[in-house]
């Protein structure tokens, strides 16, 4: 079972990475072009998000009809519904970082093979930021 889970995850990650690259998301100039709504706007990212959300919306229609996932004994789906300050404040910080360099976590990691040094600086800083939250929350 573990081998199948790992293989499925590798295939999903590879599909995800190829989709990011094909959609132009591993190029920060394209991502910042999308966020430049009041300047020289590049709508490409809206098509990437639209395509992904469309396919995933179909998957969510299938999910309730399955007793369990194919390679796991149950579904692990977030159940929280509360709108909290950390949710909004954290998302705002993330959005600012996204705007500064035109990178979010997936494209940052995928770009390790495209622009290794730059991508590594971004990913290492991102992990440091995650570690900081972990420490401050007293989980360390």
């Amino acid at each position: 079972m573990t081998m199948r889970k790992v293989a499925t995850s590798l295939v999903a990650g590879t599909l995800f990475g190829s989709g990011l690259a094909l959609g132009g998301m591993t190029n920060p100039a394209r991502v910042r072009g999308f966020l430049d709504l009041f300047g020289d706007w590049d709508p490409t990212l809206a098509f990437v998000m639209g395509g992904a959300v469309l396919v995933m919306a179909i998957a969510w229609r299938f999910q309730p009809r399955m007793i369990a996932p194919l390679f796991e004994d149950k579904f692990y789906i977030p159940t929280r519904k509360d709108l909290t300050t950390p949710l909004v404040f954290g998302s705002a910080l993330f959005g600012i970082g996204w705007g500064v360099a035109g990178l979010c976590p997936g494209p940052g990691i995928a770009a390790l093979v495209i622009e290794p040094v730059s991508a590594l600086i971004f990913v290492a800083s991102m992990i440091a930021g995650m570690g900081l939250v972990h420490l401050l929350k007293g989980e360390g």
């Binding site: 889970k5 293989a7 499925t8 995850s9 999903a12 990650g13 590879t14 599909l15 995800f16 990475g17 989709g19 690259a21 959609g23 190029n27 920060p28 966020l35 430049d36 709504l37 300047g39 490409t44 098509f47 990437v48 998000m49 639209g50 395509g51 992904a52 959300v53 995933m56 919306a57 998957a59 969510w60 999910q63 996932p69 796991e72 950390p86 404040f89 954290g90 705002a92 910080l93 705007g99 500064v100 360099a101 979010c104 976590p105 997936g106 940052g108 990691i109 390790l112 093979v113 495209i114 730059s118 991508a119 600086i121 971004f122 991102m126 992990i127 440091a128 930021g129 570690g131 972990h134």
Partner: protein, 153 residues
């Protein structure tokens, strides 16, 4: 890549066909994680899991997913004979990385978990998170442009 080399009137630089095709691949990847492993394909969460800062999916599966990301990008880069990439310098990358790392942990997700998986199931938390990071990202680029801060080479 002719079939996806569509253009959008008024936006000569946009690549809607390639964008849509890429989005469909991302959606299939997220669907495989949900229907195969019962998990949300949230990359910030999976990254935290890999480096020991969070729980969730099996560690080995989390590592495999992250390894797949550059593998997939490499396949497209090889198929297309390289990929355009215009990155910011080290200082903006460090600032951005820290903000993205802190923000995604506090906000419980990023563009993949909230933006794709959560929005597609109309999760209120994900809709709020996605709206927030979109507005923050757009405002950041607008303010940086107004101040004449060029980060990309």
């Amino acid at each position: 890549m002719t079939p996806i080399a569509l253009s959008l009137p008024g936006f000569p630089d946009a690549a809607p066909g390639a964008g849509l095709a890429g989005g469909i691949l991302i959606g299939l990847a997220a669907a495989l994680m949900l229907l195969g492993l019962g998990r949300i394909a949230g990359i910030s969460g999976i990254t935290a899991r890999v480096v020991g800062l969070g729980g969730g999916i099996d560690r080995a599966a989390a590592v495999a997913f992250l390894v797949g990301l550059p593998v997939g990008a490499a396949i497209i880069a090889m198929a297309q004979g390289g990929l355009p990439a215009n990155f910011a310098g080290p200082i903006p990358l460090i600032i951005a990385g820290l903000l993205v790392g802190i923000g995604t942990r506090l906000g419980s997700g990023c563009t993949s978990g909230h933006g794709v998986c959560g929005v597609s199931r109309l999760s209120t938390r994900s809709l709020v998170a996605t709206g927030t990071f979109m507005v923050a990202g757009i405002a950041t680029v607008a303010i940086m442009n107004a101040l004449g801060l060029e980060v990309l080479s």
